[in-house]
Amino acid sequence: MLETRSKISTALYWAFVWGCGLAMLAFMIGPILLALLMSFNSGTTLRFPPEGFSLRWYEMLFDPIASEPIHTAAKNSIEVALSTVAVVTLITAPAAWALARAPKRFAGSVEPVLLAPLVLPSLVYALAALLALSLLGLGPSFLAVLIGHAAVFAPLMFRTVLGLAQRMNPALEEASATLGASRARTFLRISLPGILPGILAGAFLVFMQSLDNVSVTLFLGDPGRTMLPLRLFAMLEESLDGRVAAVSGVLILAAALLLVTLQRFGGRDAR
């Protein structure tokens, strides 16, 4: 009787894990597969259902003349996104690590400040920052965009790193200190490997959000620079241009390649 119940519960467990798990996986990527599918549409527009298979949107996307504005926009956006990731990592990873060890009250009062940018619409932040910049007599610039993105997206990494930093065994850092390691060495050799998955997850989030952001770039950046998301927004809303879907296809391919390489040659992760 008890055995039967336990068997049923186990069966339900696996049914849930595999059944619902795979279903949710499908739910998560279904729309993306749809977008990918549309990028191979041979029709003149992204209308659904697609009319046939072709690589025309990719060809068009890689056409150096017809798609020059997209290329420039992508280059600009990737430049901003990469720099943002660098800045955010530098200030955020140490901070999350430190606050995981800080006295509760201090951390509790500081964290909301560090997380606040998540809930301020970025257009509003961009406006406020631009106003502040003008008050200081400064104009928009690459640096302003970079700082703006870093301020707005740092919380993403802060939160992902904090989750891991809070779970690290403090004895490891203590052991490192007793072995004469400087703070920097302890951080680099012991703490950093511990929070690395959080940094990577955070870096990815920051990169993608920065790549996708319009307002901050638009308001703080050099007005002549076209940025990818604004470009894509216009292309899609105006004309359902298939290249928009192709851009996603390219991004996905690049990320998949990167990921496979990382897994192949990436750091050892002893369990």
Binding site: P31, I32, T92, A95, A102, P112, V124, Q166, G198
Partner: protein, 276 residues
């Protein structure tokens, strides 16, 4: 006195104070400016005394809560699957999680326009199965918006959780099983507590993102569902009433901030201070 262990947090704190808090203070200053040029809390009072506006505020918070809730439900089996998966399947799940984020927001949103539309696969399938008589559209409905937001925000919860799961400790799971815990109980008592800090992290990200996702809210939700970001964008871009926009933003920030503060405090509870 500055405590040693907080030292490394100061660069970020300084950065945020300088580049986020000071513009925010400026914003707060602007929000105090009335339409007639006077100074005071008029904008806040005007917003809060208007039942319609209040409804938009609570509706926005409710949207965040609903999305967070459904994201959690959708994430649970995936997280468990990830936990049980071998190296290869884990890699696959991870790639699948990154995919939605690798797709520009406009594209994701567009995909949902197609999926939820009356000629989209969902409607057509149900029609084909005879489950509905007429094609129907989930576009411009809160149901449709929530479905889309759940899919779009799901990775924000999954990523931090996966990061922690890679480092999770299996020993306590073994202990739980030896003590006779069934699969469910073992998972929820030995593994789940380890990911709670990451789940809270994910909740913060999902909640914040769902409440501020202007593009998805407006494209999928349409004009008959209004959330704060649309309110704010309109005050900024169409009506040019910045003080009001500032006041609304600050209200959004404050109300969401309270929720995040709670989650943050929760993450620091002694129960969750175990380590690998």
């Amino acid at each position: 006195m500055i405590r040693k262990e907080t030292l490394l947090s100061w660069p970020m704190i300084a950065f945020m104070v300088l580049f986020f808090i000071s513009p925010l203070l400026l914003l707060a200053g602007i929000s105090l400016r009335g339409a007639d040029g006077s100074w005071g809390l008029g904008n806040f009072a005007a917003f809060l005394s208007d039942p319609f506006a209040r409804g938009v505020l609570t509706g926005t918070l409710a949207l965040g809560a609903k999305v967070t809730c459904f994201v959690s439900l959708a994430a649970l089996p995936l997280v468990m699957l990830y936990w049980h998966a071998g190296k290869r399947l884990r890699g696959l799940i991870l790639i699948c999680t990154l995919l939605p984020m690798l797709t520009a927001n406009v594209v994701r949103t567009f995909a949902w326009v197609v999926l939820l539309g009356r000629n989209g696969p969902i409607s057509q399938t149900l029609l084909g199965l005879g489950l509905t008589e007429r094609p129907f559209s989930l576009l411009f409905s809160e149901t449709g918006l929530i479905i889309a937001l759940v899919q779009i925000e799901l990775p924000l919860l999954l990523l931090p959780v996966f990061a922690v799961l890679n480092r999770a400790d299996r020993k306590t799971l073994e202990a739980a099983e030896v003590l006779g815990a069934g699969r469910w109980r073992a998972w929820f008592s030995a593994i789940f507590p380890q990911i709670i800090p990451a789940v809270l992290a994910g909740w913060v990200l999902v909640f914040a993102s769902a409440t501020t996702s202007y593009v998805t809210q407006s494209v999928i939700g349409g004009a008959r569902l209004i959330y704060l970001p649309q309110f704010v964008y309109r005050e900024v871009g169409v009506l040019f009433q910045w003080p009001m926009a500032a006041a609304i933003s600050i209200l959004l920030l404050a109300s969401t901030g309270v929720i995040m503060l709670g989650l943050t405090m929760l993450a620091r509870h002694e129960r969750l201070q175990g380590h690998a």
